[in-house]
Symmetry: C2
Subunit: 407 residues, 2 copies
């Protein structure tokens, strides 16, 4: 037996140069494919972990540009009006549609202890789902309410928020968080429910059922199912969602997947959940034969764009910065069951807390990017954002930090 | 033979659960160690690729805070005075020392075609190495020139820039770029030379030799050896440097390592060079038994902090944002040959191009962070930088981009 085994191991050793014995220095012209020489870990990763050795040639790398929207009034951002958590943008009837969380209350949010039937606890308490349309994606006409809060004790009686849209066999489905207590009572607890309509302009019929239920006691998603985000993929509805878990002290946010054959379910949660370890809101799109995700704000792998060839096992595709929060792109092929997702060039996002904590409110914003196979925008592919010094100085030392340093 | 081989393969198959058959959902309490269940790729990476599942418990994750320095005059930032590319900060004689590239010319940089003996081509042309001292790291006293430009044709006659400091057996060594043509003539070409002194206040004796030579024709570092950055590690001098290569169209910047037993060499370039695939200036420090690097601005793995247990094979330790450029930390154990590097809490960096291209100049700035085993600063460990909307809107669409979108 040894006669056969030993040559096998010798063969392996022969193929791997472990002696740092490159006979020549690394070449001036960067090879586009992995060269046959021993490489440092960092240079090797360029070839094994990314689609190109140049960020600007990586279809899943982009900078993000931001434009203020026309058509929305915020009462001088005094905290009484908020618009946040936009849905994906869809194009129907010659115009773009977006749905979002809309709050219009007499006072800004006052926290869970001071809230009541008309005073909101959080920025998304006592909210409805409103919608707006636009012919260019920059100037919007607010169309009013799409989903009202139902009467108590129906799902969402306290607040309906953070909607997203599915178009399926000629019908429209809005999935959203249905609060049955004020956000902040324990945490930010809710399941997901849905409404459907024959037109994007409604009227919307609530299903009055929980569509994505919270996990059982002790499971990662036992308290919150946030940011339901449906895409049509692999002939099914892939609905991604976020949950907060691990308690308050070291709260983590991850994203899971629930799959269904029909819009109203049943949705089966994926056994490998959570499938995205970092980030905050759900922001995904079909790309080539897989699914891409914008991962930002929270967790170990924030500031990345990730890709899962199977929609489940996400790898880092690029590292970027100044990403849009609550990003909700316009995805032309979101519901076409595409096998070659073309990617995205723009969408909606939000800025939270634009007036400070005492006048808490959020606003919608447009972002543009080049995460598309169909355009190539050099400016979007610049390696870095150039900030003026004041942006850095704004990130100054706190009083506590200065005391630590000067002690 | 088959009798022995087959059970071996069965054993492998038995150990790897490939059927997505988790019998329970992921737990609400995030396990600190990798749990025995099948995991998605993203969640698995939390345990295999990072020192903690929580960014805030990762010693090599930090945000960065910025403070304007007192004590430096810039002629109202009219482009005639620049200070950039600080050295590591050292502490001697009861005060901190920093060296930097200093330019004081009658006109701002005019490009390689318009430059002459007194008009600079680039921001770092016709420069000298100056130094300053401080008792607190915030208010600095400029002490004047450390390294003048030598007479032509000595190394550095056109400009001496981008110095860094080594303390070795009671002597002080400054390594710096020695230009023998105006930057921009072909590219930004220079080798590295050095000067030494018995005191950080000088006088400095130039060695008048090339210490780190450019590579041979066709090698990655044939044109530039930038940002020489010496540390004492493994009983030797580990000098990291940067080179630009691959031509102008798709220029890349990577970092290499040269090792010597003595400050004036000979330095042997590492056979695995380049050892860092991304970033811009060199910014490294001893950490535990290895070397950590700040990697920013350019390349696939910008916005990361990396770690090499052997000083050569760097892995991503964390992903962050708004990093200091040309970061040059105060490293208390930079020259102690430590086997347990304690890390860094502050240093110097620069902002380039603070007045626009026509009045090009750069300024020094202080950064603070928590990349230290010896402090834990909650504010430095926040997952994200909160910017006001104007920071995003500043990154707006260009005219060219608006024309593409509205065409």
């Amino acid at each position: 037996m040894n006669k056969l085994i030993i040559p096998f191991f010798l063969l392996i050793i022969g193929c791997v140069n472990t002696s740092n014995e490159n006979k020549t220095a690394f070449p001036f012209t960067l090879p586009e494919e992995m060269p046959e020489r021993e490489l440092s870990s960092a240079v090797k990763r360029l070839y094994t972990d990314y689609s190109s050795v140049h960020p600007q040639e990586n279809e899943l790398f982009s900078q993000f540009k931001y434009t203020e929207l026309k058509g929305f009034d915020y009462n001088n951002h005094d905290g009484t009006i908020t618009r946040r958590d936009p849905s994906k943008v869809i194009y129907e009837n010659g115009k773009y549609y977006v749905w979002y969380t809309y709050r219009n209350t007499s006072l800004p949010p006052q926290g869970a202890k001071k809230c009541n039937d008309t005073i909101p606890s959080s920025d998304w308490d006592l909210a409805e789902i409103w919608y707006a349309t636009s012919t260019d994606g920059f100037t919007w006409e607010e169309q009013g309410v799409a989903i009202k809060r139902p009467a108590k004790p129906n799902i969402g009686w306290r607040s309906v928020t953070t909607a997203d849209i599915l178009v399926w066999e000629g019908k429209y489905y809005l999935y959203y968080q249905g609060f049955m207590e004020a956000s902040g009572t324990r945490g930010d607890d809710c399941p997901v429910t849905a409404s459907w309509a024959d037109s994007p302009d409604g009227p919307w019929t609530p299903v009055n059922e929980i569509i994505i239920p919270n996990g059982k006691n002790g499971e990662w998603d036992m308290y919150s199912i946030h940011d339901p985000y449906p895409l049509v993929y692999n002939d099914k509805i892939y609905l991604y969602y976020k949950s907060d878990f691990n308690g308050k002290e070291k709260k983590v946010r991850m994203q899971g997947l629930a799959v269904a054959d029909n819009p109203l379910g049943p949705f089966e949660k994926h056994p490998l959940n959570p499938v995205i370890s970092s980030g905050h809101e759900t922001s995904l799109f079909q790309f080539k034969s897989g699914i891409a995700a914008l991962v930002y704000k929270d967790g170990v792998e924030h500031n990345t764009i990730q890709y899962a060839a199977d929609g489940v096992n996400f790898e880092i595709a690029s590292i970027t910065e100044l990403m849009p929060y609550a990003a909700a792109p316009y995805i032309p092929d979101a519901f076409t069951n595409t096998k070659d997702g073309r990617g995205i060039t723009w969408g909606m996002a939000h800025f939270i807390n634009v007036s400070g904590w005492s006048r808490m409110n959020s606003m919608l914003v447009r972002f543009d990017c080049d995460l598309s196979q169909d355009i190539h925008d050099d400016e979007m592919k610049e390696h870095r954002v150039n900030h003026s010094p004041d942006v850095y100085f704004k990130q100054g030392l706190s009083k506590k930090q200065r005391e630590r340093i000067f002690r």
